[in-house]
């Protein structure tokens, strides 16, 4: 059984910070652990716990004393209740860093970057997302084993949409 108490939070946060991921969610029987680099997407899971490092607003708002937003310089961790969209306990979602068309393989006919059952490293490319002919590689961001591919090849994906479910393994390096 995966226990939140056994997680090395510092190495997890560091791994997320190094990765291209904006958010990793780990669900256990005790609840949910979310590590987020950007503002929380619809923060349904954590109404009372502002999670994110807020990028400075282009026009306004920076430095104002709005109580519901707190600036954090590094990845923040939020423990929250289960969400219907969350991954199974001990697993993480790999999410798209941008909106576009999801590609499982580097080119048509080539084998997919990853298959279910493959072990992935944080820097490993697991998919490509294309918006207007600009191709962006999606790194795994975590150590683990791919358990599910949530999106079909060439499907349209939105920003921050879960694309893979990865069973988390302890950080080997």
């Amino acid at each position: 059984m995966f226990d939140l108490g056994e997680v090395n939070l510092e190495s997890l946060i560091a791994a997320v910070d190094r990765s291209g991921l904006t958010e990793v969610t780990i669900t256990t029987a005790d609840g949910e652990l979310r590590i987020s680099k950007a503002a929380p997407a619809a923060s349904t899971a954590a109404p009372a716990a502002p999670a994110a490092a807020l990028p400075v607003a282009a026009t306004s708002g920076a430095g104002t004393s709005e109580p519901a937003v707190t600036a954090a310089p590094v990845a923040a961790v939020v423990a929250a209740a289960d969400t219907p969209e969350g991954p199974p306990p001990g697993h993480a979602h790999i999410r798209t860093p941008l909106l576009g068309v999801f590609y499982r393989a580097p080119e048509p006919g080539a084998p997919p970057f990853v298959e279910v059952g493959d072990r992935v490293e944080p820097d490993q490319t697991v998919a490509i997302v294309e918006a207007m002919k600009v191709f962006t590689a999606v790194p795994a961001g975590v150590h683990g084993v791919v358990r599910e591919v949530l999106v079909a090849d060439r499907d349209f994906v939105e920003f921050d949409q879960p694309i893979l479910v990865v069973e988390i393994e302890a950080d080997a390096g």
Binding site: A39, A57, G61, L99, V101, A131, M132, V134, E158
Partner: protein
């Protein structure tokens, strides 16, 4: 034919566009950033698409994401609203390449009117009065001679400008070169282009604009004018329709000039031709064309009974205008106060946060409120601060303003600081009621009142002539 529109905007205009889509029977998909997934527009739309993170530079300001979102969601048109990408040549061009209708003018018109010097020359060639001005200043050493021909005082203006950025007033020759340098640097920072030119400055002037709508079949119609003279740092605060206190020949001249310019330029969609009116002589001069739906379009809708956004969607789909110039009747008067989440006592610092109380006046025959806010809504810190547009009408200008006072009195917003109280004081000012204001008026008033001016409680409003600064 349009069946599904991607609304590439947020806030009140997203709500407004979605409602117009319903009116004309088009599905609306709202593109949202991470900060707007739970917005009123998102609830109202038929579908949403998560465009990107909260900062506009990573979401609403990315043409390639907007077009990819439209393609991914099966939309055949994109409505850009105002601000963000509304005047983006890049977005319009990407739409064209991908077979998507851009709900606005074509790429050529956007390019022409996006460059102030080109726009000015177009206006002049259509016989529209323009102020004495120069071509772009390429060599600062030539500037003094050119400036002498135009005459002082004058303005240094950014060719790619808008909203007062890259603009400097020069009252004497020795100020010219420093002003050129500052304006060019500001223009480069704000618009990516340092190109500036010189234009005669009219010390006391009003801002009057004409609403135009054009279809793809050669029909160009004006829907009357608006006055937007009450501005703070070039940002409009109060707008009204029709523009009051103009001699009939001036009003006709403005309206005809606007139609002529748009017809000659082959313009389509809704657009606004802005003019400066010399407060003393009432002579008018072309300022610029805003090739988009504007914030203040509602006051024109209220006096004409024409739904501008629905009309914009129809002409974008290739339909002919459903009315002619003779069908357009302007009835009564309408005024709009913009309510911003800003603190006038703190230099109009933005005041984002959770709205804890949100009570609006009863809307109906004489009161209209365009807003995306509600009790419990979090005004995000990323975007502009407009929270509501309060509009009132009346058979006369005075009655419209009296109703505005009532409406603002019934508007209660807590949790964020707003410009409501300031607006209530402004609409009671004799200068506003008697239309003796000029565009620098409010800035002077606020400067004279000191930094804490906005913190005062509203004075009793029984006598509109009472001094309430």
């Amino acid at each position: 034919m349009i069946s599904r529109v991607l609304v590439a905007n947020r806030g009140e205009i997203a709500v407004r566009v979605i409602r117009a889509c319903r009116t004309v029977g088009i599905e609306a998909v709202l593109a949202v950033s991470s900060a707007d997934r739970d917005s009123a527009g998102a609830r109202l739309a038929d579908d949403t698409v998560h465009l990107g993170p909260a900062p506009a530079g990573e979401s609403y300001l990315r043409p390639e994401l907007v077009v990819a979102a439209a393609l991914g969601k099966g939309c055949d048109a994109i409505h850009p609203g105002y601000g963000f990408l509304a005047e983006s040549v890049e977005l319009a061009a990407l739409c064209e390449e991908n077979g998507i209708v851009f709900v606005g003018p074509d790429v050529r018109a956007l390019g022409q009117f996006g460059d102030k010097v080109t726009a000015r020359n177009l206006a002049a060639s259509s016989g529209v009065p323009v102020l004495p001005a120069s071509e772009p200043i390429t060599d600062p050493r030539s500037a003094p001679e050119i400036a002498a021909q135009i005459g002082y005082p004058l303005l240094v203006k950014a060719a790619a400008g808008g909203g007062g950025k890259g603009m400097r007033r020069v009252s004497a020759p020795d100020e010219l070169v420093p002003a050129l340098e500052l304006a060019a640097a500001e223009a480069k920072a704000a618009f990516g282009s340092p190109v500036v030119y010189l234009e005669r400055y009219v010390a006391s002037s009003r801002h009057v604009e004409v609403q135009v709508v054009a279809d793809t079949h050669g029909s160009v119609v004006h829907l009357g004018d608006r006055d937007c003279t009450v501005q703070r740092r070039h940002q409009k605060l109060i707008e009204e329709a029709p523009a009051p206190d103009l001699p009939p020949h001036v009003q006709e001249g403005l309206r005809e000039s606007a139609v002529r310019l748009c017809r000659d330029a082959g313009y389509r969609s809704v657009g606004t031709v802005e003019f400066l009116v010399d407060a003393a002589t009432k002579e008018y001069y072309f300022l610029e064309v805003n090739p988009r739906i504007q914030v203040e379009h509602g006051v024109t809708e209220l006096v004409t009974g024409i739904d501008l956004v629905a009309t914009q969607l129809k002409v974008a789909a290739g339909e002919p205008l459903p009315f002619t110039q003779d069908d357009v009747e302007i009835t009564g008067h309408a005024v709009e106060c913009r309510i911003n989440a800003e603190d006038p006592a703190l230099g109009f610092r933005p005041s984002p946060g959770r709205i804890t109380t949100w009570r609006t006046p009863a809307t109906g025959d004489h009161v209209r409120i365009d807003t995306h806010c509600f009790e419990g809504y979090l005004v995000p810190p990323y975007y502009d601060s407009l929270v509501a547009k309060v509009m009132t009408t009346g058979p006369t200008r005075d009655e419209a303003f009296d109703r505005m006072d009532d409406a603002l009195g019934d508007l209660a917003i807590e949790g964020v600081t707003t410009t409501r109280d300031l607006q209530r004081r402004l609409i009671a000012r004799p200068e506003v009621r008697e239309m003796t204001v000029s565009t620098p008026w409010l800035d002077s008033l606020l400067a004279a009142a000191g930094p804490g001016a906005g913190a005062e409680r509203p004075q009793p409003q029984t006598d509109p002539k009472e001094h309430v600064a």
